[in-house]
Every structure is written in structure tokens, then in C-alpha cells.
């Protein structure tokens, strides 16, 4: 019997008090942001906001107190995440560090790395970016070519990383690169790059099709990194990076990217929409509700210490399709011509998300890669 189990999410009544606290906080903190600004969601950047979130104790929620964490459950962390995303909070300053870089350091980092960096992440003061993709290594991460060569006292790095979101704003990058011999996933490692204190780095914008600057090209030219930059074990990079990717795939960010299009569409359609519109609203809400249940089930697996890589791929596969469908449905239910300059809040939001939508099934693992992972889970490869 082939099975892709999603156990019922464990109950977490204490999270509901927390939820109300987060809502109250966000209502005030986001009061001045337009729907289109909110729709930027986890790409929105506001260090001041992240510091406030850190002060509330809502970053590093599950980590040990020793490192600035709060020792709360994965389900409580989930509540904070989903409230932030549904409201369109600008979380990018702490988002990546909280989701994957911090947990990676916590798992494989040295005491010094943990003690110096994790508390800063928890305070919302250390922004991370992910150094994985390269010009010739996209979905095929094992084709990575950037190389760190051992020298006296550390490494010399040469190579180019691309699509690096937020590298121009970040404090650190976790660099995936080659440090040894061997083919494909052999001989790879992860290095912690202090972007503020490293010379020989060039960070250039890669503009997205909207003209926005989120992505960067990061070029390493004989860049020296000290020995203490090694994160985890030399040669264990592939194992570490695949674990990290599981954390990147199951969360509410994989089905809420277009949520504000739905709410702004409902505002336009009013309290008594026509039958066709009401059916569309009901159907989309049902899809979100079901995905949320699956995603919380994954949070339950994380809480129980299980590996949810397969379930995470399923959530992302379904969630991305839904995120892409929402603007397509909205544009047909409301008579409109999209325009980024529009001062109509629905149109501005719809326009932005229509243009962002192609990235939903690319970032964090393409649709095709995820389907391959699911097929592997079914025993087909």
C-alpha cells in the first residue's frame, strides 16, 4: 500500500492566545502599509519591524534559551508565521535566518558560531541569504562549481552565486560550495560568509521582470574566508543542504502568496456577490483551509522530530498551484485592466501578484523537482 500520510495536526490551544497577541501587534505595526505593499509579504524588508518582532519573542521561537531562543513549540511558531504572512508583514530581514539558516547553525554549528550569531538572529538583527544557485546550477544543485580551496588559516573562494535574494541587505550568506574531490554531491561543504567583513566580494542586482531588486549576483574572486567559517563538517555539505531544503518547503509561505488578492477581490465584490463569484470564493477558501491543515500536520511532524521532506514537497506542489490560480480567477470575476500604477488597492495588488506568480513554482524548488521528489516517495525512482 503506497501512502503519503498526513496525520491530523496536534491540538495546540495555547497558540490561540498567542494568535490574538500577534494580530493585535500586526494591526498596529502594519497600519500604514497599502495592500500592494503587504502583498510583497516575505520579500518585504523592514529591519525596524524585524527588531520589534524579535523583541516580542517571535523569532527563534523553538530554539534553546541559551542561544536567545524561546523554547516554544513548532506549532506556536507556525501560528506566528501564518499570521505574519496572512497580514502581509515585511518579514524578509529575519525570515530566512529564522526558517533555515538559524536551525542549520543550531544543528551543525560550533559553540562559537551558535553563541555569536544565534542571539542576533533571535533579536531580528542578523539577516541571512542563501548561497545555493549558480549560473550553471539551478535545479541541479549538485552541479555547483564555486570552490573553496584550503589555504593557510582558511579558504580561498572562487565562483558565482545567482538569484541570491537579499544579498545586498544581508549580514551573512550560507555558501554551498566544493571543498574536496569527487563527483556531484561528494566533496561539498557549507561556509558561513560574513558579508559585512569580507573583502573580494561583488554583489550586483539582478532585476526581476517587474524591475524590482530582490535578487543578486554574488561573485567571489579569490575571497579569503577564515577556518572558522566552516559550517558543520567539511564534505558533509550535501547532506546538510538537503535537510535545510525540507525546512524551506512546507510552511504557509507556500500557499499564502496571493492571499491578499483574494481578500481585496472580496472587498470589491462586496457582501452579496453573484453566484459565480460566491462559488469561487468558497472554493478558494476550501483549498486554503485544506492546505493549512496539511501544513500544520507538517509542523506537527517537525515537533515530533520526524523528517517531513516528502509531505513538504506535497504542500508546496499544491500550494504553488493555488497561489497561481488566485490572480487568474480574480481577473475574471472583476472587470478590470491590471496596472502597477493603479491607486485602486485591488488592482495594484492583483497587478503585482500577476507578475510575481511565475516565480511561485520556481523558488524553493521547481514544480518539476517537487514532482520528482513525490515520485521518489512513491517508489518510482
Amino acid at each position: 500500500m503506497v501512502d503519503l500520510p498526513f496525520a491530523p495536526p496536534p491540538p495546540c490551544p495555547e497558540a490561540e492566545t498567542l494568535r490574538q497577541e500577534v494580530r493585535t501587534f500586526l494591526a498596529e505595526a502594519l497600519a500604514d502599509r497599502t495592500p500592494a505593499q503587504r502583498a510583497e509579504s516575505w520579500q518585504g524588508h523592514d529591519p525596524e519591524f524585524s527588531r520589534k518582532v524579535g523583541a516580542k519573542g517571535w523569532i527563534a521561537m523553538t530554539w534553546p534559551k541559551q542561544y536567545g531562543g524561546h523554547e516554544r513549540s513548532a506549532l506556536e511558531r507556525y501560528v506566528v508565521l501564518e499570521e505574519m504572512l496572512a497580514a502581509g508583514a515585511p518579514v524578509s530581514h529575519h525570515w530566512i535566518a529564522d526558517r533555515q539558516s538559524g536551525p542549520l547553525i543550531l544543528r551543525v554549528g560550533t559553540d562559537e558560531q551558535k553563541e555569536t550569531i544565534l542571539p542576533r538572529i533571535a533579536r531580528g538583527e542578523a539577516m541571512f541569504c542563501i548561497g545555493m544557485s549558480e549560473p550553471d546550477s539551478g535545479s541541479d544543485l549538485a552541479a555547483t562549481r564555486t570552490r573553496a580551496t584550503r589555504v593557510q588559516g582558511g579558504y580561498v573562494v572562487n565562483g558565482t552565486k545567482v538569484w541570491t535574494s537579499g544579498a545586498h541587505q544581508a549580514d551573512y550568506m550560507i555558501l554551498f560550495c566544493r571543498t574536496g574531490e569527487g563527483q556531484r554531491h561528494e566533496g561539498t561543504s557549507q561556509l558561513l560568509v560574513d558579508l559585512r567583513n569580507t573583502s573580494g566580494l561583488s554583489i550586483r542586482p539582478i532585476r526581476a521582470l517587474t524591475g524590482e531588486h530582490h535578487f543578486n549576483e554574488v561573485v567571489f574572486t579569490d575571497t579569503f574566508l577564515p577556518e572558522t567559517a566552516l559550517l558543520g563538517k567539511e564534505g558533509d555539505g550535501w547532506n546538510q543542504v538537503t535537510n535545510e531544503l525540507a525546512l524551506e518547503r512546507s510552511g504557509p509561505e507556500r500557499f499564502l502568496s496571493s492571499f491578499l488578492v483574494l481578500t481585496e477581490m472580496m472587498r470589491v465584490l462586496g457582501p452579496e456577490p453573484g453566484e459565480r463569484a460566491a462559488i469561487a470564493i468558497g472554493r478558494l477558501a476550501a483549498h486554503i483551509h485544506a492546505l493549512r491543515r496539511m501544513s500544520r500536520s507538517v509542523a506537527g511532524m517537525l515537533q515530533a522530530g520526524e523528517n517531513p521532506a516528502l509531505q513538504a514537497a506535497l504542500v508546496k506542489e499544491l500550494g504553488n498551484s493555488l497561489e497561481q490560480e488566485i490572480p487568474e480567477i480574480a481577473r475574471l470575476l472583476v472587470d478590470c485592466e491590471p496596472s502597477l500604477e493603479s491607486d485602486d488597492r485591488f488592482l495594484a495588488t492583483l497587478s503585482l501578484i500577476t507578475l510575481h506568480a511565475p516565480s511561485f513554482s520556481l523558488r524553493g524548488g521547481t514544480r518539476e523537482i517537487l514532482r520528482g521528489m513525490i515520485a521518489r516517495g512513491l517508489g518510482l525512482r
Partner: protein, 351 residues
């Protein structure tokens, strides 16, 4: 996933009794009496009946979980319908007879007329598309009397049936009712139970059956892709087939999660939101999963000889029973629109 004792019992029973031959015979109109007896002896049809009324008094979600198992094994018996009838009768404090039961009415807008005649009651009218009507020893009827939802136990001698069927040749009969009922056979429905509640229970049951059937489609299709060789290798090695199975797997997983949520909602005072979600989500997945399973199986899966169609024809029927995706989406969408855009997220998170 941890399996309860009752699920394990159901799994074993259905594994022992349900075969392709039995399914073929059921389609020809032979009631699977032996299988029914085994299921009844194990007490499965009384899952939603409280202990004092002769049931197990187990949580609704646990009792309903056997319908998912039944869906996986395509059990050709009125198990869901007998459970629903038992729930309705027990809730009204009426006796539950042994044997297969069903409920009426099931089509939206249909009502039966229940009137007082001295010490007795009189029930009359026509109820269409009644599942397993011809095989039921009694029908649990929900009808209003002076604005109050009442439950009536209608025995076999109180109605005639005209056979009909769904796409899987499961009985969906027209009942013509003209019956005098003793006063002990009619009582007010349990508090909060009305036509919408009964429809929600039916929708939950079909959602669970569909989730089970889709899980078996995934297993069958994956196995077929590993076994069937073309161009010198198993077709499951081709990326196009792998991706079709991944899509099938994703949607059946979403259907399963949503259906389980509905089963929980039944035990929590029949909360309509998760139930609507389940019928919408499983109904949408049903058509998609059926078509992908057929695509993977190729021509052999389109034959009567192959057992795939016992699942797919049920899915293509069940998605329209107790309300299609449109009916439940409309209900949910109107509710959410009236609540307003700023209530959408709180509604979703508290449902």
C-alpha cells in the same frame, strides 16, 4: 498513521469479504448478504450510535474513519447510510432495527409530508435517489411537522421502490411513501438536527469514501506503472508518468486531510465549515484523480474486466451526492462574503 482498533477490524473484514466477483455481482443487483452480516456482526454500522442505544459510543471521527477504509475496498454495502440512519434514529430516541437501513430525503429541496392522524402519524410523498432503498429494512426519514424537524422510522411495508442507480450501479431508488406510523415510530430530531445537518453528515461520509477510493487509486496506479513495461522499461520510469502519479498523490493527500477534518467536525457539533471544505476538496480531487488513474492505466483500465472502474465510477458518482462542489462552495462563499474580507483569515483559522 496510527490505526484504531475499529479501523483494523474493518480492514480485516473488508479484506476477507470484498472481491471483484462480489462487486460484479452487486452491480447485477445481488445484495452482498454474507458480507453485510459479517459487517453487522462486527457492529460497524452502529458506530455513530451512543452506548445506551446499543452502539459503542466512540468518538464520531473514529467511527467515521471506517468509511475511508470502506472506500479503499469499494465495499458494495449501505454502510454509510445505515450509520447515518442509526445516528438519526438514536438522536430522536427511536429504536434501531437490525439490517441495512437508509435515510430520506437526500435530494436538496425534496420534502416528505408528516401529519398527525389521531394517535398515529401519516407520512407521504416521493423521495428520489435514495441510496440502497430497495435493500433497506427501514428508512430513517427527516420531515418537518409544524416547523419542528421530526424523525420517522419508516418500515419496509410503508413504501414501494422504483429502481435507479448511480454511475457505479449502486442502488439510487425512488421511494413512494404512503404510510400510517405508530406514535412510537416518530419523535422530534435531536437538538440542532435539521435537513442541513443531515446533508452535512452525508457529505462527510461521501468525502471519506472518496478519500479512501482515491488512496486505492494511487496504490493501484503506482503498482501498475511499476509492472507495465513499454519501450523496454517500466512506464513508471518515464517522467511524464511519474509526474501524473505525483499529481494524483498530491490531490488524494489533500482529499484525505480534508475528509479527516470533516469527520472531526461531525463530532464537534457538526461544524459546517470543515465539512464544506471536505466535500469541495474531495469532490474536485475525485475527477482529477480518476482521470489520472485512467491515463496511467491506459486501455486496459478502460475495460470492464479490469477492476479500476469500480473505484473511478464511484468517485464520479459520489462527488455529486449530498451536494456537489458548487453547492458547498456557494454556501461557504456566501457565508464568507457576508462576513467580509477582513474576517476571511479569522474564519479560516477558527474553522
Amino acid at each position: 498513521m496510527t490505526e484504531s482498533l475499529i479501523e483494523a477490524t474493518a480492514e480485516r473484514l473488508f479484506g476477507d469479504h470484498i472481491s471483484t466477483r462480489l462487486l460484479a455481482a452487486a452491480e447485477q443487483g445481488t445484495f452482498a448478504a454474507e458480507a453485510w452480516q459479517a459487517v453487522e456482526d462486527a457492529g460497524l454500522p452502529r458506530g455513530l450510535v451512543p452506548e445506551e442505544a446499543g452502539g459503542f459510543g466512540m468518538p464520531a471521527a473514529e467511527a467515521l474513519a471506517i468509511l475511508r477504509v470502506a472506500g479503499r475496498h469499494v465495499v458494495p454495502l449501505p454502510l454509510a447510510e445505515t450509520m447515518a440512519a442509526g445516528w438519526l434514529l438514536a438522536g430522536a430516541g427511536l429504536d434501531i432495527p437490525d439490517g441495512p437501513l437508509t435515510i430520506a430525503p437526500v435530494v436538496r429541496g425534496e420534502t416528505l409530508s408528516l401529519t398527525r392522524r389521531g394517535q398515529e402519524w401519516h407520512l407521504a410523498g416521493t423521495a428520489t435517489r435514495i441510496p440502497w432503498g430497495r435493500d433497506a429494512v427501514a428508512v430513517a426519514v427527516l420531515a418537518e411537522h409544524q416547523g419542528t424537524p421530526m424523525v420517522a422510522r419508516l418500515d419496509r411495508d410503508g413504501f414501494t421502490t422504483t429502481p435507479g442507480s448511480n454511475l457505479a450501479h449502486e442502488p439510487r431508488d425512488t421511494l413512494r411513501i404512503d404510510a400510517a406510523l405508530a406514535s412510537a415510530a416518530v419523535a422530534p430530531a435531536a437538538s440542532g438536527v435539521d435537513a442541513q445537518t443531515l446533508r452535512a453528515l452525508g457529505a462527510t461520509m461521501r468525502s471519506l469514501q472518496m478519500a479512501g477510493a482515491m488512496a486505492s487509486l494511487l496504490s493501484m496506479s503506482t503498482q501498475y506503472a511499476l509492472d507495465r513495461t513499454q519501450f523496454g522499461k517500466p512506464i513508471g520510469k518515464f517522467q511524464a508518468i511519474q509526474h501524473n502519479l505525483a499529481i494524483l498523490g498530491s490531490h488524494q493527500a489533500a482529499a484525505g486531510a480534508a475528509a479527516t477534518g470533516a469527520a472531526e467536525a461531525v463530532g464537534e457539533g457538526m461544524r459546517l465549515f470543515p465539512i464544506a471544505v471536505a466535500k469541495i476538496r474531495t469532490g474536485e480531487a475525485a475527477g482529477l484523480c480518476a482521470s489520472l488513474a485512467h491515463q496511467v492505466h491506459g486501455a486496459i483500465g478502460f475495460t470492464y474486466e479490469h477492476s479500476l472502474h469500480y473505484r473511478t465510477r464511484r468517485l464520479l458518482s459520489w462527488r455529486n451526492e449530498f451536494g456537489s462542489e458548487s453547492e458547498w462552495s456557494l454556501l461557504l462563499g456566501r457565508h464568507l462574503a457576508a462576513a467580509g474580507p477582513d474576517r476571511l483569515w479569522p474564519e479560516i483559522t477558527s474553522a
